[in-house]
Symmetry: C2
Subunit: 228 residues, 2 copies
């Protein structure tokens, strides 16, 4: 029977390269803003994500105004202080030395929100797994991240933000979920390794340690609990 073909060599390579060379960028953003054309391509890539029931529950808030980015950065500073307080000793020193966001440096910030109760999609697939509405919006983040890498644009995901405070600054209604807050912009370079690995915060785990066959591997749970 006929079988759908793979992409030609260059195109296939591009997909794997974007996946391999994508980085969570927290520094090195350049001040030049993205053109409307490039921004349009990135947003379109995000909008082509899979979604449960074709509900397309993602909503994108593009933030360029400095005063709003400053307000978000203030939230980050407070949330980051609270986060620092859970660490002690060397780990605390290391945490304090990490660069964890580029809210003010990146000329574009993008907040992705989701209404998990949205009627679009007519609830298909959401009776047994309602969380797939939120997961669809996460797939949009990853589409955008890979397209951005191919365009030479850095993306950083900031999760050290008090959600309630961010809801207020961006006027997001209470029942709307905040999925991701991203910093976007041209960068001077992409690091060869993840920042957190270079800084000695955590090391990547080999693939064979996260792959099992036919059933859950009980060794996983034991390993998860070990503080490295």
């Amino acid at each position: 029977m006929a079988r759908a073909g793979r992409f030609p060599r260059g195109e296939l390579q591009g997909v794997y390269r974007a996946i391999r060379e994508r980085r969570d960028v927290r520094s090195g953003f350049l001040p030049e803003p993205l053109s409307e054309e490039v921004l349009g391509r990135l947003m379109d890539a995000a909008h082509r994500a899979p979604s449960v029931g074709l509900m397309q529950p993602w909503r994108f808030i593009l933030i360029r105004a400095v005063e709003i980015r400053k307000a978000v950065h203030d939230i980050f500073l407070r949330s980051n202080q609270a986060a620092l307080d859970i660490y002690e000793g060397d780990r605390r020193k290391k945490y304090a030395s990490l660069r964890l966001e580029g809210i003010l440096e990146a000329p574009q910030n993008l907040c992705i929100v989701c209404n998990p109760e949205c009627e679009r999609g007519h609830r298909l697939g959401r009776l047994s797994m309602p969380e797939t509405a939120l997961y669809s919006a996460v797939c949009a983040v990853q589409n955008l991240w890979l397209a951005a890498r191919a365009e030479g644009i850095g993306v950083g995901w900031v999760s050290i933000l008090d959600k309630k405070a961010l809801h207020e600054v961006l006027h997001i209604p209470e029942n709307i979920a905040l999925v991701a807050y991203l910093c976007l912009g041209y960068v001077d370079h992409f690091a060869a390794e993840p920042d957190l690995e270079r800084a000695g915060w955590e090391r990547r785990i080999p693939l064979d340690q996260v792959l099992a066959f036919e059933r859950y591997d009980p060794r996983w749970r034991a390993r998860d609990e070990k503080k490295v």
Copy 2:
């Protein structure tokens, strides 16, 4: 200042093509299994996803045994009957006519689970947004989905599955979250449009209706509540 460049034309095209031509595949899977080499490339792509604190919380269970796929398919049948029961009239008839999974046809199934309490990553980024552990595992799904499309391999995400029953069949401990259950395999073709759009279940929404600037667009919520 030097600026990181974009990918060469063919590579850039490949990334956008994978994003544009990716489909949620529920039929047309071919019986030929994936080689270990191709499977390895797909799993490696998934494993290169971003993760909060570099925790890499995804764990992959590859299922090829027919008896396990049959047990999962039985769960689907029961969950799908329960889902059908929320619809009435024409919508119910339409739901009943939809093809929603390829569990038995696709020679490979892949279950992605996540321990949201895993100590890896030392909790970085998870004080204010603990859900980013689960979201990291979702990014792994999307990496795999795009790499698979470039390889000419179909992927379908099945969310109509009772989680408790699936936990039992795959021996997943209670505190481990089930993130995604995927069907994977070569396919005879990729559809030009999403299945659910062709079947008249839902239509895609234009990008400009999901994009706002500087703050949440209050019209979004009103539109979400309208049953289309």
